[in-house]
Every structure is written in structure tokens, then in C-alpha cells.
């Protein structure tokens, strides 16, 4: 009987070396993926808050442009501000910032419904028809600076502020 060629198996040393190399590689890949995932998660959280700020601004500006008058506005230095405007339908639209829950509420007549979360500051400054003189007299307000601030969790102590002026088209 012809003898079959002897097949050499892996030695214990080879096996241990291969396992160690594989473990190192898997660990490195896991660290890499975890870092990338954490970066993505942090960015996604920031983006969600920024989008909440933009959405709040868009909502304010769209309605202020159509408004007939301002019926109430918080003082210029109030960072948890409130605003009420009278619409052509006669309804009063109201926005109010809740600084404890860090949210902006909106509603008709009173701000009772949630509009946006994670908003740390909301500020309004009214201006007269000349566009440069600030005022708190509601009958004189012709444009409003709306300023929204959000905290960004990715950066310690980091925040982002977005601001837009809105002009009341009727006077």
C-alpha cells in the first residue's frame, strides 16, 4: 500500500499567534467603529437641536410676516421670552419659552402646545418702523428680532444662536 503524503497541522504556537493577531485586529476595528459611531451620534444630536432652533425661527417669521399687530412682547433682556401677535383672522398667536423644561410652546390665544424642545433661550426685541429704534410699546413695533439659542451636547458649554428679523407687513 502506497503511503499518503503526511499533512502538517498547525502548531500550537501558530494557533496562539494567529488568535492573538486576530484579537488585536478585532479590537482595533471595534475601537475605530465605536469612535466613528460616537462622532456620528454626537453630530446627530447637535443637528437635531439646531433643527429645532431653525424650525422655531421659521415658524415665528412665517407668522409674524402675516401679522397685523403685536399684542404682547417680553422685555428685550428676557432670555425666556414670550410673544403674542394678532393675525388677519383676528386670532391671537402666542409663543412662550419655558426655561425649566427648555421648550417653546405655541398656541392660539395662549401658548399651550409644544412647538420645540431643547431650546435653552428665546429672546424678542421689537423695533419701530424706522427699523433701528428698539421699543417695547406694542403699538409701535413694526419688526422683531427673534433669537433662539440651543446648547450643543457635543461641546462642553457650547451653544449656538440663530437670529432672524421679521417685518410686519401691515401697519
Amino acid at each position: 500500500m502506497k503511503r499518503a503524503t503526511k499533512r502538517r497541522a498547525l502548531t500550537l504556537l501558530e494557533l496562539v499567534t494567529a488568535t492573538a493577531l486576530l484579537a488585536t485586529l478585532v479590537t482595533a476595528v471595534a475601537v475605530l467603529l465605536r469612535g466613528a459611531h460616537a462622532a456620528w451620534q454626537g453630530h446627530d444630536n447637535d443637528l437635531a437641536r439646531l433643527e429645532a432652533a431653525h424650525a422655531t425661527l421659521r415658524h415665528l417669521v412665517r407668522n409674524i410676516r402675516q401679522a397685523q399687530a403685536v399684542s404682547a412682547v417680553s422685555p428685550a433682556g428676557d432670555l425666556s421670552g414670550a410673544l403674542s401677535i394678532v393675525m388677519p383672522s383676528g386670532q391671537t398667536y402666542a409663543w412662550d419659552h419655558d426655561d425649566v423644561a427648555e421648550r417653546v410652546n405655541f398656541g392660539i390665544t395662549s401658548a399651550s402646545d409644544l412647538l420645540a424642545e431643547e431650546i435653552s433661550e428665546l429672546n424678542f426685541v421689537g423695533y419701530r418702523a424706522d427699523g433701528t429704534t428698539s421699543t417695547t410699546a406694542v403699538e409701535e413695533i413694526q419688526s422683531i428680532d427673534c433669537q433662539v439659542t440651543v446648547e450643543l451636547p457635543r461641546q462642553a458649554g457650547g451653544s449656538r444662536t440663530v437670529i432672524t428679523r421679521a417685518w410686519l407687513r401691515s401697519w
Binding site: M1, K2, A4, T5, R7, R8, A9, L10, E14, T17, A18, L21, L22, L25, V29, L32, L33, A36, A39, W40, H43, L47, L50, E51, H54, L57, V61, Y127, R128, A129, D130, G131, T132, Q142, S143, R160, T161, V162, I163, T164, R165, A166, W167, W171
Partner: protein
């Protein structure tokens, strides 16, 4: 018996093969990570344009008010550093010339541009992200009276 006798010798996997296979597996991760990086880059661009949109609307509305109040043709430039965006700048042009889409003393064309001044040149250059809005506003005596002009 004869078949087993004639079978070719079957070698085992070498350590080199094992490592090569693992390396190939790792290489497949590279495109996945590149996709993630590209997604992050695109997301940052979207974020930049979102902010520029808000800032551009801000300048457009400000100048609509000013136009209604003083009816002055002008070009205004500046930065948004005071709002925490030192790299973002704006340019607003107000003109009632026919060539710019206006009607002298009757209709003012207002164009606002907000851009990311990446090379700090102070002007909008090619490839820099920007947002531009244009609109027109009519001259209304009653509004100018309201503004005290």
C-alpha cells in the same frame, strides 16, 4: 481503497493565509467608514446652509424695513461675528435701477447674500457656500410717514 490512495495531499492553511484573509475582511471596512465620513461632511454642509439661510433672511428683512423707511439705494457688507459666526459674511444690495429689476422711486430690488468666507477674503468667491434671496418692495408714502421720514 484505490481512491484514497490516489487522492492528492491536502495542505493545511498557513498563518500567512489566515492573516491575508483577515486583512481582506478589514479592507471591506474602509468603504463603510468612508461612507460615514462623507455623510458627516454632507451633514455639516447642510448645517452651514441652514444657518446661512436664517442669517440671509435676517439681513433681507432688516433691509426691507430700512428700504420702506428711507428709500435709499445702498450696498451693505459685514460679518456675523457678533452672533458667534466670525467666518460668515453678508452683502445686501438695494437698487431701484431698471437694470437691477427696480423702477426708479417706485420699486426697490433688494438682494441679500450670506456666505461662508472660507478664505477670509471678505468677498464671495467661487466654491464658497452661500445663500441668496432677492425680493422687491414698493415705495409707500404711508410707511415712510410711519417711520418718520
Amino acid at each position: 481503497m484505490a481512491a484514497s490512495r490516489n487522492a492528492p495531499p491536502r495542505p493545511g492553511h498557513t498563518l500567512l493565509e489566515l492573516v491575508a484573509a483577515t486583512a481582506l475582511l478589514t479592507i471591506t471596512l474602509v468603504p463603510a467608514l468612508r461612507i460615514m465620513r462623507d455623510t458627516l461632511t454632507n451633514s455639516r454642509k447642510t448645517e452651514t446652509l441652514g444657518i446661512l439661510t436664517a442669517l440671509c433672511v435676517d439681513k433681507l428683512e432688516q433691509h426691507l424695513v430700512l428700504t420702506g423707511a428711507d428709500w435709499q439705494e445702498t450696498t451693505a457688507t459685514g460679518s456675523f461675528a457678533s452672533l458667534g459666526y466670525p467666518g460668515y459674511r453678508y452683502r445686501v444690495e438695494r437698487s431701484d435701477e431698471l437694470a437691477d429689476g427696480g423702477i426708479p422711486n417706485r420699486l426697490m430690488a433688494v438682494t441679500a447674500t450670506a456666505f461662508d468666507d472660507q478664505n477670509s477674503s471678505g468677498a464671495l468667491d467661487a466654491a464658497e457656500p452661500y445663500v441668496r434671496f432677492s425680493t422687491k418692495v414698493a415705495q409707500l408714502r404711508s410707511y415712510r410717514n410711519e417711520a418718520g421720514n
